[in-house]
Symmetry: C2
Subunit: 346 residues, 2 copies
């Protein structure tokens, strides 16, 4: 970068061949004499050559970069943008997404650019970024059902893959979890433990996943002879879990089991129960959702419905890669199955 980086031309001169030959050696090789290959490789070594990506992507029209976009709802103010980023990262869920994405991209010499799109300007920035060819496509994790970004990307014809099926249909690939089955697993666990009086802390109503988890839970409870299940709506945060549980416990002091739609809320549920003198799982069994890191470190460790986030993120990256390489034209969707992880809380 600093003092005149060596160019293909320099290497060619050093090796006594032409620029094109060096280029062939550097990239996947097409018929180059092995002796010359070695010669070139030696010259590359000696000059410390590193291909300039700008020049390369100028002609290949590929950047080896994808945008990893966390997009929010509508219209966050300038001041809140930092907070948004911090909040997103505070959720252990997102770390797993990054882990899965990086795991897939790394062997493909591709790198994720982190972007936040929680305001109209930020969304415009994402679109511009892609249209300028800064990145080949976008992996989008929406934190809000009304997120307009997917539609914008689809309209612009930009390659993109979503985490979770969008509420409004959009012509983009996505990966998702069989949330209904997750709810079912939680219900089955509580039923198997013999819990009679059972309640649930759901995710936000507007989020499709919340509704599906809830439906799976309720349907299964009903089938198991418990047609009525009190529900309190939470917001996927610890605080909201505390609030929801406080309300539930006030109305139903005799609860024996609780299903919280994510681990953070389950943690809040446990806190409230303990503060109210209930033992978990002795008096009340608690099932969480996600199998995030808190599930294991929480006291007591949470029995939870595992969402294979890393695999899902990797699948996202794979789908995007296929779209970018033109191997896939039509939007596809990949559905993952949840799994019950039994620890101590239920």
């Amino acid at each position: 970068m600093n003092r005149q980086a060596p160019t293909l031309e320099d290497v060619a001169r050093e090796a006594g061949v032409s620029r094109a030959t060096v280029s062939r050696v550097v990239n996947g090789v097409r018929n180059v004499d092995p002796a010359i290959q070695d010669l070139v490789r030696l010259a590359i070594e000696r000059t410390g050559y590193a291909p300039n990506r700008a020049a390369r992507s100028l002609v290949t029209r590929r950047t080896g970069t994808v945008a990893l976009v966390v997009s929010g709802a509508g219209d966050t103010s300038e001041q809140e943008q930092n907070a948004f980023a911090a909040r997103v990262f505070a959720d252990p869920f997102f770390g797993r997404v990054v882990g899965g994405v990086v795991g897939f991209l790394r062997p493909r010499a591709t790198h994720p650019v982190l972007m936040f799109a929680e305001s109209p300007e930020a969304r415009g920035e994402v679109l511009r970024y892609l249209r300028q060819g800064n990145a080949d496509g976008a992996l989008v994790v929406s934190t809000h059902p009304d997120d307009p970004l997917p539609a914008l990307l689809a309209d612009a014809g930009l390659p993109a893959v979503l985490f979770a099926r969008p509420v409004r249909p959009v012509a983009l690939s996505h990966v998702d979890l069989a949330h209904w089955d997750g709810g079912r697993l939680a219900a089955e666990r509580l039923l198997a433990r013999g819990c009679r009086k059972v309640a649930t802390v759901s995710g936000p109503w507007a989020v499709a996943a919340s509704q599906e988890r809830l439906a799976g839970f309720r349907d299964t409870m009903a089938r198991g002879g418990h047609p009525y299940v009190p529900v309190a709506e939470g917001g996927f945060t610890l605080d909201s879990g505390v609030a929801a549980m406080t309300g539930l416990l006030a109305e139903h002091p005799d609860l024996e089991g609780v299903f919280a739609a994510n681990d953070l809320m389950a943690q809040g549920v446990c806190q409230v129960l303990r503060e109210r003198g209930r033992r978990v799982p002795g008096d009340v069994a608690v099932v969480g959702f996600d199998d995030s890191s808190v599930a294991a470190t929480c006291r007591p460790p949470l029995t939870t419905v595992r969402q294979p986030v890393e695999d899902m993120a990797a699948a996202m990256a794979r789908l995007l890669d296929e779209h970018i390489r033109g191997l896939r034209d039509e939007p596809a969707s990949v559905l993952f199955e949840p799994e019950l992880v039994v620890r101590e809380s239920a």
Copy 2:
């Protein structure tokens, strides 16, 4: 990206001016007749033009991208790389770093590329990435004192800024916290509460910050008339906090105050204390460090030494920006002051 994106040439034709003029308008430089400016802007609007970044950075030698590198110790195996990413993100600390960095970069139309450098190959990848001109510089957060990456970057003459002063001196700018003062604040708080028997759970010995926090704490306690302070070494994780506190409590059952070198460990300390029947802060006062998100959500909420991570991260980004733009030649260091945040635990 898809069907022939419009080029500068197209816009120029549309506006009836030359390529150079359009370029001038786009970059907002030099004297261009306002009337023509409007003309060009209209043409840009009509064609939907977006400057191709590859072409631009080919000539400017700038990418508008910086690498945000989380670098680990030595030689992590391929399988553990995902885990590394997940672990890093599980630490709420890192989310704050990202928030601060993004906050600074965003107005400057710069974006962070996320990279993990926890193995020799990964480190090579980072260097190559920078030397290829994929990014203009690197923001490095080391998770291990023996991290060789800073030296590699310095040797390669690549612009980079570190979070925390490296153990071995390296010719790179960095930001850091006055850790000694942080330890002092914690000690002063415990002294002010009248705690007699006090212990501390330190961070890993190898980490300079741990030693400084410890020194500040001990020196201040000594000055306050408590020359002997039992220490247990932790690893900045919740589990290590639990283990350390278990040991301390066994040897010193009469403890009245504990300083843990980060909030995660403080949380572990509180768990152990509660399980052993001690009330916090009634029986034992606990002071944490960082003021991370767990400090507020923990039960009880932690009194802690605040590290202004977002500001520090922003300062890192600013330093890097100055290095990249050539405004700053010599390595600089910026030191931040910690601050006591009083909640309930002490």
